[in-house]
């Protein structure tokens, strides 16, 4: 019957489409787990500023540009070892005074202003901290002195968007981002346009010790990033989107299989032994059907643990005594009465042998459609918990992205990609399993096949 089913599936286009999508998801999952191992994924998702500090905040996916007339900029980053950085000379001016000039150059061709410009500094010195002047040179030759600052820390950052003194010096109107005058053709006009061309940043360093050094890095934050964009913490969403696939698939598959198989075994045991065993199972089922599953899961999540494994176990435990036990029971009652079971009993087959080798195999075909149809509901259950803020504390999942997006007002601020990408991932998974499941239902349920 199972072998015949494979042949039959080919006659159902929706089943084929569903199956192909599921296989693609499975391939993506395998690729993800190999390419970004678990530890690496957790590091990329929970690591901290060091990992994602160079990414723009809330950047759209790069393919947004395909649909836009005014192209959004990509992030440009280079450190002082980059080939396009020109060393303008290192020289001793006095006994304890050295001057070292560097010039960064980058080409800017986008139609929109970048999100921000940042310079990261790192200095080594004994007593007296080095001093840096930052000069911005526009393609039209205009020079703007951005800031003079002494570099004391291991990781000191100069952010143009937060440069108060620059804002004051340029006499910008209230609320105008200082990034605009750096890049605009005429920032005083009503609708300033981006001046395209080669921009330069000159760093005029003054050192006060012979072996004092200074390292720097320039980041011009764009407005698009990767194929998935970034979130409010500058994290690359592609990590979470990719890792969402194996998590969702294995969660759905494990939960659905666990529930179906255990339900089947419990129903079979109840029917075979009958009497008080059967009665007890029936009563437990009735109690269980009154229990509200989601509230209990939420309580477990808040009061006990949010780990995905704990959630999985609780979900399975709450679902095995579900309504399907009654359906299975009805079928098993028929099977129990059939002659071949009688025959097995007469030659002395053990209880376990009859249950596992003679009764359960008969019912497997009817279980498969409901198993496949059950997978998306568990995938969405995980997402539901995540949307309530009860997602796994470590793993990146689709539901967690949706939750982050919702909490940070992604829709109100128009960051549609943040919501739509994980939604589509969830949606397509759900529909694929549903399409396959409905077709399997028709294949294995002869009464439906005629319709």
């Amino acid at each position: 019957m199972l072998r015949g089913a494979w042949k039959e599936i080919r006659h159902y286009p929706s089943a084929v489409i569903g199956l192909v999508i599921i296989l693609i998801y499975a391939a993506i999952s395998v690729y993800t787990v190999i390419a970004i191992p678990y530890e690496e994924a957790v590091r990329l998702w929970r690591g901290g500023e060091d990992i994602w500090g160079d990414n723009p905040r809330l950047a759209a996916p790069t393919w947004y540009n395909l649909f836009r007339k005014k192209k959004l900029p990509l992030t440009i980053k280079m450190d002082d070892k980059h080939p396009s950085v020109k060393d303008l000379g290192y020289q001793q001016v006095d006994d304890d005074l050295w001057v070292h000039d560097l010039e960064y150059a980058f080409d800017f061709q986008a139609d929109e202003f970048p999100q921000d410009v940042a310079l990261f500094f790192q200095a080594a010195f004994q007593k007296k901290a080095p001093y840096v002047s930052i000069v911005w040179i526009r393609p039209d030759g205009k020079e703007i002195r951005l800031e003079d600052l002494s570099i004391r820390g291991q990781r000191q950052v100069f952010l143009v968007s937060q440069a108060q003194r620059l804002h004051k010096k340029l006499r910008l109107p209230e609320g105008m981002d200082p990034v605009v005058p750096l890049f605009a053709d005429d920032y005083k006009s009503e609708n300033p346009q981006v001046l395209k061309g080669t921009y330069k940043v000159r760093l005029e360093t003054t050192l006060f010790e012979a072996d004092s050094t200074i390292n720097s890095k320039l980041v011009v934050y764009g407005k698009v990033h990767g194929w998935a964009g970034t979130d409010h913490l500058r994290r690359d969403l592609s990590v979470a989107l990719l890792w969402g696939a194996p998590v969702a698939l294995s969660f759905g598959l494990l939960a659905a299989t666990g529930v179906s198989v255990l339900t089947m075994i419990i129903a079979a045991v109840g029917v075979w032994f009958g009497g008080w065993v059967d009665a007890a199972i029936q009563r437990i089922t009735e109690v269980n059907m009154v229990l509200p599953v989601l509230p209990i899961l939420i309580m477990v999540g808040i009061f006990i643990s949010r780990s995905l494994v704990v959630m999985l176990l609780v979900i399975v435990a709450l679902s095995i005594f579900g309504a399907s036990i009654k359906t299975n029971r009805a079928i098993f009652l028929q099977i129990k009465a059939s002659p071949y079971i009688e025959a097995a009993r007469s030659y002395g087959a053990s209880d376990l042998r009859i249950i596992f080798f003679y009764m359960i195999p008969r019912i497997i075909p009817t279980i498969i459609p409901s198993l496949v149809l059950g997978i998306p509901s568990f995938v969405f259950l995980e997402a539901s918990l995540a949307v309530l803020g009860l997602g796994d504390p470590v793993l990146p999942t689709w539901g967690k992205i949706l939750d982050d997006a919702r909490v940070n007002g992604a829709l109100l601020q128009g960051h549609f990609y943040w919501v739509l990408l994980p939604s589509f991932a969830l949606m397509i998974t759900g529909i694929a399993f549903a399409m396959l499941g409905f077709s399997l239902d028709r294949i294995f349920n002869p009464r439906l096949r005629e319709l």
Binding site: P295, I298, Q334, G430, I431, F438, L448
Partner: protein, 383 residues
């Protein structure tokens, strides 16, 4: 998620046992059956509520937290008391212990949790819902009863409207489709049924994205604009506007699957021999539909209707959270977040009672509308 109340194609249970009991008079069997059923349902409710109490108190852990809070509070209070500071250390310790014991006694924390859990159970089952620990109703009351009563109407408005709409629309559409099996509309509804794989809140996010964030023609969520409109007409209009997206989201997730399963169900019943006979006799199609298709499927329709009504009561936690709907589901979630055991247990016990009553009434209605149901027999476990 889906309304798969109907187990299409399932096999009927053998009815041998019920025939064996033919000896006892009917009314005794009915009475015995009713009594057993009530006892069983009550035990079910008790177990469900007790489990909720255990989980909501983290098996007694919440008591520990509360004790620690009391101790800290007492110590802080006494620190500010000059007569206390003048006491020697041992006397101070004694004083703290005495105050802590007084406070614990006042809150009933002096008894072990096991005893307390049964006190809670008794209070819950007698619907003595008590006072909330952290939450208040909008009118400022701490009575759990008032909090629930205040939150119930929004939930009933939203889920009542959407369940009714979905139930009757799907019934009407599916009857129409089963008449024209294989037509364009039939195939359209069948091929759209996988949409039910996603829950309502999920479509909610989509609809909010399109109609609130992008087109900006409908509100993001909530039930009434702030400030609320003055006249009744404007109020209703505003409410309607806020209802559109949630109801549409509910429709997307349940309508197609509902139509699909009803249609399949009707098709199976309309291929029965007696329907063919009725058609062959030349009865008008409407009559065939009413008498030979709808009549035997009535019990299933009623069950499904009752269960969809009962699901209205608890609302949907996530759905209300997404749409910022001030109903019971969201209140339940808020109560869990602030560890407000009294509110959690209060909502659960009401729900459990309602469900139990519905299941019981369904059993009786079944016996009335379906002559095949043999009361007291094997078939009776319809829950």
């Amino acid at each position: 998620m889906t309304e798969q109340v109907m187990t299409v194609g399932s096999v009927e249970e053998p009815q041998k046992e019920s025939q064996a009991r033919g000896g006892t008079p009917t009314w005794i069997r009915v009475l015995r059956y009713t009594a057993v059923r009530i006892v069983m349902l009550f035990i079910t409710v008790v177990i469900g509520v007790y489990l909720t109490i255990l989980i909501a108190n983290m098996g007694g852990h919440v008591d520990e937290i509360r004790r620690a809070q009391i101790r800290e509070h007492v110590a802080l209070m006494l620190q500010n008391d000059p007569t206390f500071r003048a006491l020697p250390p041992e006397a101070r310790q004694k004083r703290i212990e005495a105050e802590v014991r007084k406070a614990e006694k006042r809150l009933g924390l002096d008894k072990p949790f096991l005893v307390r859990s049964f006190i809670f159970l008794h209070q819950a089952l007698t619907l003595d819902l008590g006072r909330a620990e952290n939450m208040t109703s909008d009118s400022g009351s701490r009575q759990v009863r008032l909090i629930i009563l205040e939150r119930l109407p929004p939930t009933l408005v939203l889920f009542g409207t959407s369940s009714m709409l979905i139930f009757f629309t799907s019934l009407i559409i599916s009857l129409a489709l089963s008449r024209q099996y294989g037509s364009f509309w039939d195939r359209l509804f069948v091929s759209l049924s996988p949409l039910s794989a996603a829950p309502g809140w999920f479509y909610g996010i989509f609809l909010i994205t399109i109609f609130a964030a992008w087109l900006k023609i409908l509100p993001f969520g909530g039930m009434i604009s702030t400030p609320p409109p003055e006249t009744t007409w404007e109020y209703l209009l505003d409410l309607g506007k806020h209802l559109i997206l949630p109801i549409a989201a509910q429709m997307l997730t349940s309508l197609f699957i509902s139509v699909y399963s009803w249609r399949t169900f009707f098709l199976i019943y309309s291929s029965e021999d007696y329907v063919e006979v009725a058609k062959a006799k030349g009865l008008p199609p409407r009559m065939v539909e009413r008498r030979y298709i709808l009549r035997p499927t009535l019990p299933t329709i009623i069950t499904s209707f009752a269960l969809s009504l009962i699901s209205v009561w608890l609302g949907q936690i996530i759905f209300e959270t997404i749409f910022d709907w001030p109903g019971l589901g969201r209140t339940f979630y808020q109560a869990i977040q602030v560890f407000d055991t009294a509110v959690i247990v209060g909502i659960t016990v009401l729900y459990a009672y309602l469900l139990a009553i519905t299941v019981f009434l369904l059993d009786i209605i079944y016996a009335i509308v379906d002559p095949r149901v043999d009361v007291g027999g094997v078939q009776s476990t319809t829950a």
